[in-house]
Structures are given as C-alpha cells and as structure tokens.
C-alpha cells in the first residue's frame, strides 16, 4: 500500500492533490512555489484523473476561479506565496462568507512587500487572524515535513468539505523546496458529477424542477440577516476549536523549559532540543500543527508545569501572542526569531534559551 518517493514539498502537494481526487487547480507562478503547477502540468492530470489545471492571469483571478469552482461543489485548490496570497485575501473572505470549501497553499517567503524569495513564517498573523475583511477564520495547517505536505493536502480537502470553509496550508519556501522521502497514499477516485450533486446539496449545480434555485453569495443587506450569518459562522469556528486541534509534543514529560514552534522552526528546534539536553537542560518541544484552531488548552496545561517557554519563529514575533494568551503571565515567555529569509541555527536557539529564558 502507498508508494515511497523522494520529492520536493511542492511536488508532494501537487501529487497529493491528484491522488486526493481534486477536480481543479487554479494558480499563478510565483517563487518559491511554482513547482506545484509545473508538476501538475507535467503530470497531465487531465489524462490521469480528469483534473483540470489552469494557469490564471493573476492571483486575483486564481482565487476567484476557486470561488467559482467551489461554488459548484467541486474539489478545488490553489497555491501561491506571500505576495500572491495577499492578493487573494478578498477572495478568501468571500469564500468564508459564502461558506465554500477550498484549499489554499501558502509557501511563505520573507516580506514585507516584494521582500525575498527565501523562507519565512511572517504570514502567521495573515493566515490565523483573517487577512481579509470581516470576521472569519480558516483552518490553518502547518506542515513540518514533505510527508506532512502530502498528508495535509488530503486532510485539508477533508476539513474544507467537513466545515464548508476554506483551509490554508501555511508552509514555507524551505519545506516547499527541500527533498525528503514521502509515503504517498493510494489514489482516491474523483467524485462523479452525480456524487458531487448528491453530496453537496448547497452547491450551484443546475436547478432541477423539484428544488429552489441555489444562490451562492456572501451578501445580506439586512443587518439582522447579516448578523445571523455571522453568528452561524462563529458557531462553526467554535466547532473547529472543539474538534480539530492538532499538535505534537516531544520530550515534554520531564521538561522544565519548552520550545514552542511550528513548521520549519519546529524541525530546527528538534535539533536544538538534543543539543540542550546534551548540556543537561531539560527542554521539551511543543509543535502546533493547526495554527487555527490553536492548541490553547494543551499549552496552558504545559504552562503550569514548566518554568519558561521560548517561542521560536521565522518572524518578528507573531505566534507568541497566542502562546501568551493561552498560558497567561505566570511564567516567562519570550520570542526568538530570524527574519527576512534567514533560517535560525539550532545553536542560536539554544543560546537564546539560555540567555532569554534560563539566565534571563
């Protein structure tokens, strides 16, 4: 079962999309994620599964193609990198408002502005706090390996349809570009048109005589109606918080100190943990896998056991706000980060732990 391959993270996303039964990919080239569409085009998914791959004229067009495809009940996705994802924010907000399922992959690069093409985690706020307008949330998955790039693609589609909501994979240029072995799951056939119609009674699939016409929109001009829409969305987000929190702990059982990190930073922190433990420092690693919903309860519980936490991010301090909110202010919680495309070394992290948390 499955198939073991050596792949780039971006390629794993593309291959997983075909295998997950994705119906349509709409995208625009941008470094460091262009391999997703390149791989898809080379693979001829139209012949393999009937999946449509379309190069749009812009990220604005891609995300609105996604809106159109998702509105008809099909399984659709796009991928981009930070500046392109910024252009997509309006469309993501519309999809959240209209309750449409879709997968958006962000292979983050350093910013602000055109920034750099090197990896970064500076889009945490944009992804988790709602980068577009209005009160909405996306489920945000943070893969830390090529294997998870593959697995989260499949999971992302499942969660998108489970909640009728856009889901984002928040990765970065390093995981997108690096090659690792990956166990690919067995292909799932694409749903037939009849299955799409049957499984998505909310979707615009053509009005038969025996049902009302479907309207896919995020507009309700009546404030009472729009408040109702918002309350319904908020109830959905609370359900995600109850059911979809995912995280990983490493060496937390006897830990006196904690490293908290997601994605690539967590990979670096694994090595830092080994280095620190070799020095006799009892340190554990807490890795949120879902950034929304955030694993607040688990971090809070660990916060009562440890003396301090170092939040390691490739940004100027974003997730640390959620960590502090989760834990409260009884223990020392500090941030260590490099940005602009610089990847911190394991030694740097250990030094930061020693100076900012243990000695600080």
């Amino acid at each position: 079962m499955g198939e073991l391959r050596l792949m780039k993270g971006n390629e794993a996303v593309a291959e997983a999309a075909i295998r997950a039964g994705c119906d349509g990919y709409f995208g625009y080239p941008i470094t460091p994620q262009s391999e997703v569409m390149e791989y898809l085009m080379a693979e001829k998914p139209h012949e393999r599964t009937g999946m449509v791959v379309l190069q749009a004229e812009s990220e604005v067009a891609s995300i609105n193609m996604l809106y159109g495809g998702a509105g008809t009940g099909k399984m659709v996705m796009t991928s981009s990198s930070s500046p392109g994802i910024s252009l997509m924010q309006e469309g993501i907000s519309y999809m959240a408002g209209a309750e449409l399922p879709a997968l958006v992959v962000n292979i983050v690069r350093g910013g602000p502005g055109l920034g750099t093409i090197q990896p970064s985690q500076a889009d945490y706020f944009q992804a988790v706090k709602g980068g577009g307008h209005g009160d909405y949330k996306m489920i945000v998955l943070a893969p830390a390996s090529v294997q998870e790039m593959c697995d989260h693609t499949k999971l992302g589609f499942e969660l998108a349809f489970k909640y009728r909501n856009p889901v984002m994979i928040l990765s970065d240029g390093a995981i997108g570009q690096m090659m690792e072995k990956v166990m690919l799951f067995d292909p799932i056939p694409r749903r037939s048109d009849e299955e799409v119609i049957k499984q998505n009674p909310w979707a615009a699939t053509g009005k038969p005589a025996n049902r009302e016409h479907i309207i896919i929109t995020s507009l309700d001009l009546d404030p009472a109606g729009q408040e109702k829409v918002n309350l319904k969305l908020q109830a959905k987000y609370r359900k995600m918080e109850e059911n979809e929190v995912r995280y990983e702990t490493l060496g937390c059982e006897d830990a006196e100190y904690l490293l908290v990190a997601f994605g690539l930073s967590a990979r670096i922190c694994q090595k830092s943990m080994d280095l620190a433990r070799a020095k006799g420092i009892k340190v554990g690693l807490f890795r949120p896998i879902t950034l929304f919903p955030f694993p607040s309860r688990s971090i809070n519980e660990l916060g009562r056991k440890v003396k301090g936490m170092l939040v390691v991010e490739m940004n100027a301090g974003q997730m640390i706000e959620d960590v502090r909110l989760s834990v409260g202010c009884n223990i020392k919680i500090e941030h260590f980060g490099r940005f602009g495309g610089i990847i911190p070394t394991p030694d740097e992290v250990v030094k930061a732990l020693e100076t900012q948390i243990i000695g600080g």
């Binding site: 119906d23 349509g24 709409f26 449509v52 379309l54 749009a56 004229e57 812009s58 604005v60 067009a61 891609s62 609105n64 193609m65 996604l66 809106y67 159109g68 495809g69 509105g71 008809t72 099909k74 659709v76 309006e90 469309g91 519309y94 209209a98 048109d193 615009a204 699939t205 053509g206 009005k207 038969p208 005589a209 016409h213 479907i214 309207i215 896919i216 929109t217 995020s218 507009l219």
Partner: protein
Amino acid sequence: MEEPFVKTEIRKDENIVYKRTCFLVDRPLSYCPGCGHGVVHRMLMETLEEMNIQQQTIGVSPVGCSVLAYDFMNVDMLGAAHGRAPALATAIKRMWPDKFVFTYQGDGDLAAIGTAETIHACNRGENFTIIFINNGIYGMTGGQMAPTTLPGMRSSTSPYGRDVLTMGYPLKITELIAHLPGVNYVTRQAVHTPSHVRKTKKAIRKAFEIQKEKKGITFIEVVSNCNSGWKMTPVQSNKWMEENMFPFYPLGDIKVDGKLVEKKETVEKE
C-alpha cells in the same frame, strides 16, 4: 379607497398573449422604473425557457445595480466579487463543461475593475456568454464616472463633465474584445424600443446556441439608459441615449462566427 384595477372577467387563458416567464422569480425587481435591466433580465430568462435549459444553466451576477440579479433569475447563481465574474465563470465552465454558463455585468464591473478577468477569459476562448450592460455610469453607488462615460458627460465624480485630458477616454472594451481570437460572437444591442428588444433577444439566443457548440466566448453589450444616474426622466434618458450614446457606441454585430464584421459608417437609428 379606490378598487384596484383588476378585471377578473377578462382573465381567461384565451385572452393571455404575454406573461411572466417562470424563469423569473415572482418578486418586485430592485431596479429604478424606466431602467433597461429588467427588460434584459426578461429576455435572457425567456431565452433559457425557450431552450428549456434551466437545469443546465449556472449564472454569475456582478457587483453593481444587478448585484441582486440572482434573486430574480430562477437558475442556480453565484454572486461574484466586483469585476471577477469571468474568473468564476471560467472555473464553473471548466468544472461543468456541459452546462450553459453566463455572466451578467455592468460597465464598471466589466470594463474597469474587472478588465483583466474580462480580457483573459475572452482570450482563452472560454465557452460562456457575457451579457454586458453599458449605461456609462456607476448606478448603484450613486452616479459616479464609469470607464464608458462619454467625453463631457456629467457624473457625480465628473461634475463639470468628463475631461478626457485628466480623466482619460471612454473605453470601447467591446471593440477591443472583438479582436481576440478566443471570441466567437460580439454584438452591441439596446432595449429601448420593442424592435430593439426583439433584436437583443435574438442575439442572446444566438449566443447560447454558439455556447452549445463550444466555439468560444459570446459577448453581448446592451447600451442602456440610467435615468436616475443621468438625472432625467425615462423618456428623456432614452432620447439622450439615442443622440449621444449610439453615435459613440454604434449598435449592431461586431464579430460573427469568429470574423470581424465590415465596418458600416451608417449609425442605426429608429
């Protein structure tokens, strides 16, 4: 109180010569009295009824006066973000290649904020139909200058008339689109007289027949009045449209069967 004017005794099947198509939802339209939108809605929906393709049709409404078109058109509809209807329609058609797909857009939506989506969908030769209502003004937001506002024409953001030197020229996007190889049929029509209404309906039918054969984009511009935005009575606005809009936006076919129509110098007037 006065009795409503209902002569029930003449309501017999044999007396009915015209009625609302069931493809229009039975509810009051949100358009100003005198506006052309309602007529175009009706022609479009009558065409779908005559072709019997309710279950095969998915429409996209824009942002603008016709933002609520999905409330009136009794087919499955998606409401697009401003200007993005052709992007939605592209994906809908690619996902459901055997459905009929149309967008219904105003001039601000199609020729300003959505220019890129319009041109690229046309250039890819997507197999859907674009209905483009050009009234030279942003109606819903209260009469601001549009990309198609005529030189010298007054609007709330060109209160002394459109000065082309500082505000740019009106965009003849329909002529622009006609030159793209992915486009099969381009025509410019109007709905201010019964004969124009009939021609518009014929054009819509032609567009949907071409769509059935998947021969590329079909594009119907309807030059329409905006009596509220132009600050005129409906009758005045139609006269003004004939005298000012039609010379700049001449009616008639621009591209048929993928070939540009020879330019005629005569301006159609009725």
